[in-house]
């Protein structure tokens, strides 16, 4: 299924794989007296799926909002590295570093940082196609005047961008919904449209805020598949926020764990799984919860037996 030839690369980054792409450098974020993030630092590597996990209210979405410029952390820096297109002789283009903390959201988007939201933030009055075409906004170059004329250069550009949008529609299997207003679509489809809209930016970095939230097991699996397709097919680096530990462990290269606004672990899925601090944050202190865990174990065994029987 991965053999289909796509004309356009959906990955907007020219950084060589394995290089640091995003550096979160000891950021702290306060809302009045509430500390949302405290001294959080980690690095996202080009070509990775990097998961950020943590219990409810750990600051995961706040962190994403800091990266995409909707929040401005009071302390620390967030740096994004981009590279120019490779030279003709194959050597890599010049690398630029951008301080995201001092840029407004739309400028960060223009650097190739695309995102989805935990509570779907689509343009619900517009069609799926219009939503996806808006993802192309940063790549369209024509002024208000030519866009008023509608014919000529504006028209030609639209057609070129439409080809890429059609590939995204194909990749995420949204063909049937092309001209439907987004507000009328089912939740799972809307989530997919939002992923598609972010992809249409040809992102250098894709931020996904709980793409599987509120889905049943089957939908979750589908979504995980789409995220993996996007990553494998297009090579897009992904920062993924997720609640469900199991999903995350399966699809990510690296995991950062937040708890009460602090980074308590950062490593490969296996390292993180074995980290005592993570186990404690997720399951609570051992001695208190032994009884609960035992009850859970009994329950699981019971269900398994029933299935067998």
């Amino acid at each position: 299924m991965l053999t289909r030839a796509y004309q356009h690369s959906l990955n907007g980054s020219h950084l060589p794989s394995g290089r640091p792409l995003l550096e979160v450098d000891h950021i702290s974020l306060f809302f009045g007296g509430v500390t949302a993030l405290k001294d959080v630092a980690f690095t996202v590597t080009e070509g990775h799926v990097h998961a950020v996990i943590g219990p409810n209210g750990a600051g995961k979405s706040s962190l994403l909002n800091c990266i995409s410029g909707l929040y401005h952390p009071q302390e620390g820096q967030i740096r994004l590295h981009t590279a120019d297109a490779p030279h003709e002789d194959g050597t890599h283009g010049k690398v630029h570093t951008h301080a995201l903390t001092s840029l407004p959201p739309h400028r960060i988007a223009r650097l190739g940082v695309a995102r989805s939201f935990q509570n779907i933030e689509l343009f619900s009055h517009l069609t799926v196609l219009d939503n996806l075409m808006l993802g192309r906004h940063i790549h369209m170059r024509h002024s208000v005047l030519t866009s008023m004329l509608w014919f000529g250069p504006a028209r030609r550009q639209e057609i070129a961008h439409r080809q890429l949008v059609e590939e995204v529609i194909d990749l995420l299997q949204l063909q049937a919904f092309r001209n439907k207003p987004v507000g009328s679509l089912a939740y799972g489809i809307q989530k997919r449209v939002e992923l598609g809209r972010a992809l249409c930016l040809q992102p250098a970095l894709l931020l996904l805020d709980e793409p599987m939230a509120g889905m049943n097991a089957e939908e979750k699996e589908d979504m995980a598949r789409y995220v993996l397709d996007v990553h494998e097919l297009a090579g897009v680096s992904v920062v993924l926020i997720e609640h469900d530990m199991n999903v995350v462990m399966d699809i990510s290269d690296r995991v950062s764990v937040l708890d009460f606004g602090k980074l308590i672990a950062d490593g490969t899925p296996d390292e993180v799984k074995a980290d005592p601090a993570v186990i404690e944050a997720y399951l609570g202190a051992e001695e208190e919860d032994d009884e609960v865990k035992e009850a859970l174990r009994r329950q699981t065994r019971h269900v398994e037996e029933e299935h067998r029987g």
Partner: protein, 290 residues
């Protein structure tokens, strides 16, 4: 029958101008959630800008229109930048007060330069009349209808099709998401004000031509409120239906009942609509759960 036809053409012409004026109002409200009480003054300023270019500076017609458009765009952008942007995040009542202040300011500036007497301006649209089914229809009203129809269609196509139009609708729909698409919300706000000023300019020129270039244009502009309440504050098609309805209602009341009553009737409709269907005919019903 002839009176009916006559009143209908007059009503439709008034209504078409109202639709143009209301379009600007709706644009601003949709994109920026600001209720612009200075929309009538935008018409007034537009009419006087055209008068300045066409009569005072003696520019040819096309150049005078271009001059008007440039100045209107500038005024729209400046108002947004200097007056509304500092008010972002303030209480809606304060913002309304600011636009009322702006309306008084604009009206006073016009009075300061041109006084309160009507200015004479040569007719731009062809005068004369045609006979249709026994009614004498003035040609300039038909031209008003044609021009308004073309401009309204152009605006509608712009919103539906063009990249900037869709970006504007996106901002109206969800500002946060629009920002993360790389859309500069500030530029969209400025664009909404500029487009509103331009549509008001066109309405002002038409009004000045069929009536007179005087202070009454601002009073006519006040009729955008019944129009948008009827059509829905955030509905572009609503401005057309609302505008034509109010225009016709006014002329028929004036012709068949009483010209005095005609001045009041749009506001009676406004009150009735607010009582029965507060979101207008095409407006979006918003239910806020607290």
């Amino acid at each position: 029958m002839s009176t009916f036809l006559n009143l209908m053409v007059y009503g439709l012409a008034d209504g078409a101008i109202l639709a143009l004026a209301a379009l600007g109002f709706v644009l601003i409200y949709k994109a920026t959630s600001v209720i612009n009480f200075a929309q009538g003054e935008f018409l007034l300023v537009g009419a006087y800008m055209f008068y300045t270019a066409f009569v005072v500076l003696q520019l040819p017609l096309v150049l005078a229109v271009v001059f008007g458009v440039v100045i209107a765009t500038l005024i729209g952008v400046l108002v947004e930048r200097l007056i509304l942007r500092p008010m972002v995040g303030e209480n809606p009542i304060s913002i309304i007060m600011v636009t009322i202040g702006l309306s008084i300011f604009l009206r006073s500036v016009v009075q300061m330069f041109y006084g309160t007497r009507p200015q004479s301006q040569p007719a731009v649209l062809p005068t004369g009349s045609v006979n249709v089914l026994g009614a004498t229809i003035p040609v300039n009203r038909l031209w008003v209808l044609l021009i308004a129809a073309v401009v309204l269609t152009a605006f509608t196509v712009f919103f539906r099709r063009s990249r900037h139009g869709i970006a504007m609708r996106a901002v109206a729909d969800d500002q946060q998401a629009a920002m993360t698409m790389g859309i500069s919300v500030r530029r969209i706000f400025a664009m909404a004000w500029a487009l509103a000023a331009v549509s008001a300019l066109i309405a002002g020129i038409l009004l000045g031509d069929i009536y007179a270039v005087d202070q009454n244009i601002a009073a006519f502009g006040l009729l955008v409120f019944p129009v948008v309440i009827l059509g829905g504050l955030d509905s572009v098609p609503g401005t057309i239906v609302g505008g034509l309805t109010i225009g016709l209602l006014k002329q028929f009341t004036s012709g068949y009942l009483d010209p005095g009553l005609a001045t009041v009737i749009p506001y009676v409709v406004l009150v009735l609509i607010l009582l029965v269907r507060p979101y207008g005919i095409f407006g979006e019903t918003r239910i806020e759960r607290v």
